[in-house]
């Protein structure tokens, strides 16, 4: 296992893909920070201020996409070059190969997150206003995003280790993450619909009269709302949306769901990989 990990890390250090993704995250962190800074300048006359925490946790939104690009391309080579068979021939178990790849994927995604945070802090501390959250809230959000990135890595490792065709696993991972993100946007829109709709009318004397509020038919109620809320907290793409727009109210619950996803996908992936015909 240690040999596998050290070989993976060595390959990581020389991988152009890894460095490309790392630089991309750095640039995105810098870009988002500068965008908020320019907005602050453009709207200065209206008194708009930009805060560091508005961009500090946005890697939660990006990490799923960047890891979806990295993991299948990096581990798909193991199949196309026959490296997996070589590893088994020299005596490594399938489980240790799977776990070494999972750890490498998770470590890479954490490095991508770190690159983003570093860029935001380097530019955001001198350019933007401080953080409005408490230290505990910041720590919880940071923990949540990092566990989410590990969960994404586990899901993609599952796909990359079970699909021998690199192109197919890349397509599944990239289309899958966008599907999850769109599901997050859709569920967010449904959950944020107002429960009641209020109309205003102007009386003959010019006074504004508030009409009796009417229930909004588009507002999900009862079991439907519970299902939407569960999916919004559970699905990794929905969690990404919550971290991206800073609306995550319970990061500890989200982190717990991410851990469940990580555990279940790794368990299922390892079990299926043990039975897989590697040809």
């Amino acid at each position: 296992m240690r040999n596998l990990l050290s070989a993976n890390l060595l390959r990581l250090r020389t991988s152009m893909l890894f460095w490309g993704c790392l630089i991309l995250m750095l640039l995105l962190g810098a870009g988002f920070t500068l965008q908020r800074y320019w907005e602050q300048i453009a709207y200065a006359e209206f008194g708009q201020l930009s805060y560091l925490d508005e961009v500090l946790f946005r890697h939660g939104l990006l990490i799923g996409i960047v890891t979806a690009l990295f993991v299948p391309m990096f581990f798909g080579i193991e199949y196309s070059d026959g490296a997996i068979r070589n590893k088994m021939v020299v005596g490594h178990s399938r489980l240790s190969i799977y776990f070494a790849n999972l750890i490498t994927a998770a470590a890479s995604s954490l490095a991508f997150c770190a690159a983003y945070i570093l860029a935001v802090l380097a530019l955001g501390v001198p350019l933007l206003n401080g953080v409005r959250l408490t230290a505990a809230q910041c720590a919880l959000l940071m923990l949540g995003t990092l566990v989410l990135s590990a969960a994404f890595s586990a899901l993609y490792t599952f796909v990359a280790m079970l699909c021998a065709r690199k192109a197919a696993s890349a397509v599944v991972c990239i289309l899958g993450v966008f599907l999850l993100l769109f599901a997050g946007i859709y569920i967010s829109a449904r959950l944020s619909a107002p429960e009641f709709l209020t109309e205003y009318s102007i009386a003959d004397d010019g006074q504004v009269v508030e009409e009796e509020p009417e229930p909004n038919p588009q507002y999900p109620r009862g079991l439907e709302r519970e299902v939407y809320q569960f999916l919004y907290d559970f699905l990794p793409g929905c969690q990404s949306i919550q971290y991206g727009d800073m609306s995550a109210e319970n990061p500890a619950l989200l982190a717990a769901y991410s851990l469940i996803i990580l555990t279940v996908s790794t368990g299922a992936g390892a079990a299926l990989f043990r039975r897989k015909d590697l040809k």
Binding site: A42, A167, V171, I174, L175, Y200, G206, N216, P217
Partner: protein, 282 residues
């Protein structure tokens, strides 16, 4: 060329990725019609008078999907020619590189048009009985559909160029998918920027039960001059066009859009063939 096309179409009908993409387009078409009908029923059960969800709002969605589904399809379908060594076989039996390129282009464009038709057939078949006929005049629908199909063909040409010039199927798939999403998000961003009002008009709003009037003031976010021209040019590109088509349903899509699509087909195919003719196929 005829032989290449006939072999290609035979492969297309047997391609799993083609049928999966077509199935997804048709499935989304049915889903959109049914979800529109469900929303209409929700409104009616809440007592909203003249609650109608029009079929039009569900019909005009397919340009958003066609490019996204076409990107993995073109990469996998055309990329298989490299991974299976078919391209070399075709060249060794005497076909020219231009003929090989054109045959793949025709296949990808055909697949793109069929994806559009798959959605249209499904949304009309499910939506017509559930939501009633379309309200937009037929010529406008026809023009919109033509513009959307032209845009899909332009994207197919772009993806074919990438697939024919990049020998790694996986890299092609990644580039094509990210390009499709990038163009779509760019279109959304440009639409937001270009639709910013030049000045905020005088506004009246209710505060503490009283009507308050706010004076008109210039919008600092309004895009002006050369920057606006660049934004407008990018907004007219295929991919971004999907957003523009969706926002111009009432007024009718500008006639320049299919011309931009045609220009994109000609440019990408011309440069693609030039580069493919010089490419070392190993």
């Amino acid at each position: 060329m005829v032989n290449l096309l006939s072999a290609g179409f035979l492969r297309l009908w047997r391609s799993r990725s083609f049928w999966v993409c077509l199935g997804v387009m048709a499935g989304v078409g049915v889903f959109e019609a049914v979800s529109g009908w469900r929303a209409m029923m929700d409104f009616r059960s809440s007592g909203v008078a003249d609650a109608i969800v029009s079929l039009d709002s569900r019909y005009f969605i397919f340009p958003f999907l066609s490019g996204i589904l076409l990107s993995p399809f073109c990469a996998l379908f055309t990329g298989a020619e490299y991974s299976d060594g078919t391209i070399r076989n075709k060249l060794s039996v005497g076909h020219t590189r231009a003929a090989v390129y054109f045959s793949n282009l025709v296949l990808c464009v055909t697949a793109g048009i069929l994806f559009c038709l798959g959605y249209i057939a499904a949304v009309l078949a499910a939506g017509f009985p559930l939501l009633g006929p379309m309200r937009t005049p037929f010529p406008v629908v026809l023009w919109y559909t033509f513009c959307a199909v032209a845009m899909t063909s332009a994207l197919a040409a772009l993806f074919t160029m990438i697939a024919m010039l990049c020998q790694s199927k996986a890299i092609t798939a990644v580039i094509c998918i990210f390009l499709a999403y990038f163009l779509l998000f760019l279109g959304i961003y440009l639409n937001n920027r270009l639709s910013e009002p030049e000045t905020y008009p005088e506004q009246q709003y209710v505060q503490d039960g009283q009507i308050v009037t706010a004076a008109a003031h210039p919008n600092p976010n309004y895009v002006r001059g050369g920057k606006r021209a660049v934004y407008q040019f990018l907004y007219d590109l295929p991919g971004c066009q999907a957003v523009q088509l969706a926002t111009t349903i009432d007024t009718g899509a500008p006639p320049r859009l299919p011309l931009y699509s045609l220009a994109a087909v000609l440019l990408s195919t011309g440069s693609g063939i030039l580069l493919f003719r010089r490419k070392n196929l190993k």
